[in-house]
Amino acid sequence: MGGALFVTLMRWLLPIALPTVFSPMPLFDTQFFFREPAWLFGGLMGVLCFVWYHGVMDDWYQWARGIDTPEHHEDKPGIEKYFGPSLDHKVIGIQYTVTALALLVIGGTFALIFRTELAASRLQFLTLEFRLFEQNGLQLYNSLMSLHGMIMIVSILLGVAAMMNYLVPLLIGAHDMAFPRLNAFSFWVAPPAAILLVSALILGGFDTGWTGYPPLSAKAPLGIDMFFLGVFTAGWSSILGSLNLIATTLRMRAKGMTAFRMPIFVWASIATSLIALTATQLIGLSFQLVAFQRVLHMGFFDPDKGGNPVLFQHLFWFYSHPAVYVFILPGLGIVSELLPVFARKPLFGYKWIAMSSLAIALVGFVVWAHHMFTSGMNEYLRVPFMYSTLLVAIPTGVKFFSWVATIWGGKIDTPTPMLFVLGAIVVFLLGGITGPPNATVSVDLHLHDTYYVVGHFHDTLFGGFVFPFFAALYFWFPKATGKRMNETLGKIHFWLMTPAFLTLSFGMMRIGLLGMRRRIADYDPALGFDNMHLVLTISGFLIALSILIFFYNLVISIKRGEPATGNLWNSRSPEWQVVSPMPAHNYDVPFEVVGEPYDYGLAGSKYIEFITPKKK
């Protein structure tokens, strides 16, 4: 087992590490060894070698040579298929899930490290004398804090891709995604991107936060180049993945599945993919421009050369605000998808919920400058951006009201997935209602860059992604494995994580209002925040403990979970009408949509009917 793990680890690390380290090497001159362009080039080569080495581009290469390859590659049985370039969307979905969870653990561990330092004022262990990876304690704090942000974002992007990849073809009755090889490529650029991100910590770190604003990022250590490159390649994954998803949904739906008969999660996925497909380029571009400023001395954001530091913020937030909707829309889709199953009632206002996802996606494109109310951009831009930002509340409100109306008058059951759905609604509601104060300019002048904002966005991301993601894992785990996860452990996970998280986010907002700034390693003891920070640190560790329980549950349920091969949740959705685990090519017999997706409680109604082949 240990040997196999080592071999796997080397298979993942070496293809990226060798080119990254060797391209700066050729001259063996210490000056050259640390030259940035060589590292940047090496990192890029590392990603390509990684993808090439794992055989992701083999078929394309064969086609270029004029050699045909079979349409399907049959996967090897057992666990081995998850380590190779499978073309099956379900395998890729699980690969995404595992990578997302791994990054969640890494990002969470980073958070625990700096959260421990914050437990009391003054520096305790990340001190100036402390040395690790050529960084002192304060530098390391900044590197960890910055990487926590970006690693969690990549983790969420992969988690979103995991849900969309696994579920959308099943929900629309397709045998796979429209472009299976592109799908495999989209996944396989993500692990090297993650490895590059983590390598930033070792290669000098960086002290800019995940936003990487110049001029600070233009002066940061070498680590920031690896950070830029990691984000850049993770962006490919996002763009290509969403392209694939849109094509799949447009072209591969089952017979009779008109737009308003699609499961609601598919609508959320479409809205998400539209954003990811059209906005991700901007974050890649903004980081690329800073990298060019560093290595080619082009003065895009350098005022001494006529550049403009605020321009970067516009480019950056043009992606990074809509990105928040990429993170949350699929999660809200999961909430809308699961509520009817456990309330045994139709989804209230299906069309309104579907359209509200699109409305959030579209309005999300014109609100980016609300991150820049104090930035020194043109004063008069602040008011229109306040109006557009507040407008997001309308479609979001429609979702909340519809959810309440959905459970009203139902026969509600609350197993673990439903608990996480309800948790998601409450936590996301807190994220939602703490948002408007940030949107109204004058109050934001106080709130900007404080722990209030930190509390607010942790609420939105936990409510919009983390809770729904766990709900989805508990709900569809039987579909992937034919077993169900342990209910008791699932409930302990929920009842431990939810209060701990609420304490964390309320506490953050409380001290933020009183004057706690974001991104500081140390705070003035005179502020009197020591007790609250200690509470926050303890809450952080309780969340970590609940996640450990989840992993324990995951492992024991895979090994010896209670078998669940049928329609465990009594759902109307097509994937539950066939046996679990899902057959290799999904539906052996195609189905036709004959009714509404969520007509629970309507006697005799059916969503789908399998098409029996006519006898010749």
């Binding site: 604003y213 001494d304 209230f348 609604i425 104060p437 109204t440 004058s442 004057g515």
Partner: protein
């Protein structure tokens, strides 16, 4: 119908309890500027809205979870209704009014915060990693503590020479970034005597946490007295190189370098007291005497020769910001620290 009455009462009660609870906690720090007035006024309305919206969703949801929960052994499905067009229109349009109301209040409050008094006193704020300096052009001196007269509008004109910083005194509420290559403006009218702290709110590098300085709001007479005293000191100092050096050092260096025998907390920078003429061991083991040449090199290119035990933290921007004469003045000042 009975359900709706109970839920309405629950929602109203919950709204009230949350709002009273939040306000009694004292969420904001003390309020020390007239700009804070309109911000606190809007924040109070925000809290009302937050309390109501939270109750509006959570009260019916909790009620439904209790009343409509599946009883043990109960089978069957929920009621079948798919939506209600009028209800959907209502909860789209009514919030729209709330949105416009809050956006209007936000714009009004922003207008109040940005209202310029023609008699405002200008103070120029200079920020470098990791130091604030406040220049009083009316009097012709600079200080590293911000003294402000009460009840007079202050117009801060702010510049940064290296990276983005942000000026924030929580008690004044307002915040504004300082961006290299441009001058940004912040208006503050202090209306409460006391000692506060200005804290940099935009991540600006390693010692960002410690980029703080004192802010004192004083009676006008006390302020005048202090300002005239500083003015006299500045005129005297500008006559000698070490005097000019001291002023420059206060702007650029003393945020990190200490001129007493103890190192400043949070910043690993060499102490200047007794520095000149000392023999130091470098990282490669060789030694160097701290003379004028070494000091000039260390200011222009801080990474060239680093003394053992220090990390390369010093900003590498001084070659652009300081002239040769200014560097000589600073060195003249360092020489006096024995």
């Amino acid at each position: 119908m009975r359900h709706f009455v109970i839920v309405s009462i629950l929602t109203a009660a919950m709204t009230y309890v949350i709002y009273v609870g939040l306000t009694s906690l004292g969420l904001m720090p003390v309020h020390a500027s007239t700009q804070a007035t309109s911000i606190d006024w809007l924040w109070d309305w925000q809290m009302r809205a937050m309390s109501f919206l939270f109750a509006l969703i959570v009260a019916p949801m909790s009620y439904a979870l209790v009343v409509f929960h599946r009883r043990k052994g109960e089978t069957g499905e929920g009621q079948h209704f798919e939506g209600n067009y009028n209800l959907e229109i209502a909860w789209t349009v009514l919030p729209l009014f709330a949105v416009f109301a809050f956006a209007y209040m936000g714009a009004y409050s922003l207008g109040e915060v940005r209202r310029l008094d023609p008699n405002a006193m200008v103070i120029r704020v200079h920020a470098v990693q990791w130091n604030w300096t406040f220049e009083y052009p009316d009097y012709g001196f600079s200080s590293d503590v911000l003294h402000l007269p009460i009840n007079r509008q202050i117009r801060l004109l702010m510049e940064s020479t290296d990276v983005i910083h942000s000026f924030w005194v929580p008690e004044f509420r307002v915040k504004q970034d300082l961006v290299p290559g441009r001058v940004t403006e912040l208006l503050i009218t202090p209306d409460r005597l006391g000692a506060y702290r200005v804290r940099c709110a935009e991540l600006c590098g390693i010692s960002h946490s410690y980029m703080e300085d004192d802010v004192l709001v004083e009676e006008t007479a006390d302020f005048e007295e202090w300002a005239l005293e500083q003015q006299a000191i500045a005129i005297e100092a500008s006559k000698t190189p070490e005097g000019r050096g001291r002023i420059l050092a206060a702007t650029y260096c003393l945020g990190c370098h200490s001129i007493t025998s103890t190192q400043l907390s949070g910043v690993a920078a060499p102490v200047w007291l007794g520095l000149f003429g000392k023999t130091e061991t470098l990282q490669d083991g060789s030694s160097v005497v701290v003379d004028e040449a070494y000091l000039i090199e260390s200011i222009l290119n801080p990474l060239a020769r680093i003394v053992h035990g220090f990390t390369p933290n010093m900003p590498q921007t001084f070659a652009n910001t300081l002239s040769a004469d200014q560097i000589n003045d600073i060195i003249a000042f360092i020489k006096t620290l024995k």
